[in-house]
Point group: C2
Chain length 473, copies 2
């Protein structure tokens, strides 16, 4: 390869950069030291790479022209929302141009009659929630990073969170999307219609595909009525078979009002009592499991009695050994703090890995016992805890194996994901695959499925410029 | 082209038929007069073509080998469920081999802890509903053809029906699918997991794509708790703005319990009173709209009072002028019969076309007035009625324009779909596109969207052997 070739590459890049700057203007074009460090990495922070360029389009038309230029130049891009991901999907790789959606954050319309909100992708989740609330409506997606994460990121990762048992994942809240394809083609699909069987439901391709098939620019989302009442109880339960029966009982008696069924294994509850000093333990460390049940009703008189009846029947049936029921908003918050403290006990212990897996409820008891046995066979003094959204089949595992915890990431992965594979579970319930979990994708998906994913990638992004190397190679 | 060519084609076909017969055995292989006439056409019956062969695979492995052979031989196929479709998707075209899923109708597993049922595609919907009910659970999808239609057909058309406002379309009830691709590859995806963000959600491709991208062989479906109470009211309402406000009021006060919000325009109510002689009209012909509201609760004491409170408040607010509330199961059924009679008034009038469209609730009042005006400008004596699942944005229009009603199908289509196009609505809310609505696909979808549909078809079925010509050319 001659020096003319390299000169050609350099000239080509110079020309591309000039064209991109023309599209975005100075406000949308940052390079060198002017690129903020938060664009180098996601919340997990496994990689910190400065993108060669940061583009901040202000409109769909600008993004379309950016992608058309990058496509023509075979230039890979990494699309960024709030950078709160955990699997290195939005973090740039060497040589990629970062495209941040942060300037596209308008609320375009809120329509009470279709109960929809139409927004740009860069809108922070919390702003979206607050806008809906101002109109007396609820946007039910909720997760810890609500202040920083963007709805575009929630869509591209199919985020889950706290109320999935009642309202579903992000995918279930989407009516329409506007998407820019790899070559700059704009796919207009901002429909508010709840029923629309006119050909393929194309929006499904872009939800949860982590930016590899297209860039979501706008969305029409479903809103719900604001619930009028909220009741919370924490129950002490002995034996997992009673946890499973309690779930069926709560679903049967609370029906559509059940919004939370969170289970804390005793090992986690002990860690909370020891290390989360600000949390007041509602029950003694006497039970195998601690179950938080939440119900939200529309505000009728029957909501509270219905919740009390559910709990009374659970005690009578012997499903629950003891229970604490909230009598005020402050008490509700205090009970939720117990559940939320599970993720925070690391502060008193040292660095802990936090796993996000899902499996069938009927396999959870075995999983809890077996994963502890296998982990202890490698690290006898491991500190670990299980907890999670059992109503959705979603568990979290926190683990500390001593000073080497960070370095032993892959060895711990192998134990946990190995067991998940045996049980037909998912190595990623909520967080996605990105770069971080790529080597475990085939633990949860078949060779034929992964081949079809590659066929779709090839069909939609034949040059592979959109977030290359994420999910699969 | 020489006669050797034709001889080659005949030899090739003879060989294919022999191979197919080897795969299926005599029980799964029917030709000539042994093919029942019900395999020639769907419920709409616009086309009646005898398939050159009817194959009835008994297992996924058999279907996989059938498709591999047809793929190698460039032989197009039409996959059939219960043949209750309305848009000529499953009806065979000239030269196609029909593949009926009717022998694959096993219930594979019902799992109360994940609240799922795993079934084969040929299972009739009603059998699925009854199996769930035997286990104290509800499969909420419900439509008039429940006794004949199959779950595979429901999945491939993304069927809607009576309870979409609460439980969603068929798509919303699916956790996992097993699918055979055009070349015979089996895609195993029978996951019961409610959260599984491991790469692309491939099952979405096959739901609602009318058999053009793959053949669904098995499904894992969500089940719900059986509701304990059911309350129904029919309300007389003057002015569409009050209908829209009543919808918001019902959603707000009934929350997750609202299962039905059906609206009958006065023109339809008059037709029902005149022609549906078996139906007892619950209210006089005095109001602009007749709204049926249904609520299903989990069985608590508050369910009935909550419903009565909702209705009382609606009367106090002036949203409702008069209302009839059910006090027994018989009265509930009688109120639903009024709504169901809308589709049956043709018996007293003559052939009526029945349209299935959707649009935003805020456009419905204008649509009702304008569509009548435009239709009458062509056919001054047209008999027409509007009614539908307004809570889902879904309307039906029945129309009779005299003896020529059948022959004038396309002229009536042009008026109705033309207005739908202007309003950004959908030319097919529930029924799909098939062959019948193909020429109107671009009324509801953009050129870029249709191009992407074709890209997907090309990627998944490059030889075009799966239901060719359906949805688009």
């Amino acid at each position: 390869v001659s020096e003319f070739y390299y000169q050609g590459v350099i000239d080509g890049m110079t020309e591309l950069l000039e064209q991109l700057r023309e599209v975005t203007g100075a406000r949308g074009y940052l390079d060198g030291d002017s690129i903020g460090e938060r664009h180098f990495h996601d919340l997990m922070g496994a990689r910190r790479i400065r993108p060669q360029l940061l583009l901040r389009p202000g409109t769909t038309a600008e993004l379309s022209r950016i992608l058309a230029l990058c496509h023509a130049a075979n230039q890979p891009v990494a699309v960024q929302g709030g950078m709160t991901g955990l699997v290195s999907a939005a973090a740039p790789q060497q040589g990629e141009i970062a495209i941040s959606m942060e300037r596209m954050k308008q609320v375009i319309e809120i329509d009470p009659f279709t109960a929809t909100i139409t927004v740009e992708a860069g809108l922070p989740l919390q702003t979206l929630q607050e806008t809906a609330a101002e109109h007396g409506l609820l946007f039910p997606l909720d997760l810890g990073s609500r202040g920083s994460c963007t709805i575009g990121g929630n869509l591209s990762t199919n985020a889950g969170g706290n109320r999935v048992i009642r309202y579903g994942m992000t995918r279930d809240l989407v009516l329409g999307l506007e998407v820019v394809l790899a070559d700059g083609t704009v796919l207009e699909g901002l429909s508010k219609l709840r029923k629309n069987n006119t050909g393929y439901d194309l929006k499904q391709l872009f939800i949860g595909s982590e930016g590899t098939l297209g860039v979501i620019t706008k969305a029409v989302l479903k809103l719900m009525p604001q619930p009028g009442t909220q009741d919370v109880a924490v129950c002490g339960v002995n034996g997992f078979e009673k946890v499973a029966e309690l779930l069926l009982h709560a679903q049967k008696t609370l029906g559509g009002n059940l919004t939370g069924f969170e289970v804390i294994w005793r090992n986690t509850y002990e860690l909370i009592c020891q290390h989360a000093t600000k949390v007041k333990a509602p029950l003694p460390v006497d039970y195998d499991f601690y179950v938080l049940i939440e119900s939200m009703g529309s505000g009728g008189k029957g909501d509270r009695t219905g919740f009390e009846d559910m709990l009374g029947a659970a005690l009578d049936l012997g499903l629950v050994s003891d229970a604490v029921l909230s009598n005020s908003a402050a008490e509700r918050d205090a009970l939720w703090q117990v559940r939320d403290a599970a993720a925070g006990v690391a502060a008193g212990i040292g660095f802990m890995h936090n796993y996000d897996i899902s499996l069938n409820v009927s396999d959870m008891d075995y999983f809890g016992t077996e994963v502890e046995k296998r982990l202890r066979s490698h690290w006898p003094d491991a500190i670990l805890g299980l907890f999670g959204h059992v109503g959705d089949g979603n568990l979290h595992i926190i683990i500390h194996v001593g000073e080497q915890t960070r370095a032993l990431h892959q060895a711990i992965d192998d134990v946990i994901y190995g067991l998940i594979r045996e049980l037909g579970g998912s190595v990623s319930a909520e967080h996605g695959i990105g770069l971080m979990k790529k080597s475990y994708l085939d633990y949860s998906r078949s060779a034929q499925e992964i081949q079809l994913m590659k066929t779709l990638k090839q069909a939609l992004d034949p040059k592979g410029i959109l977030s290359p190397g994420r999910i699969f190679d």
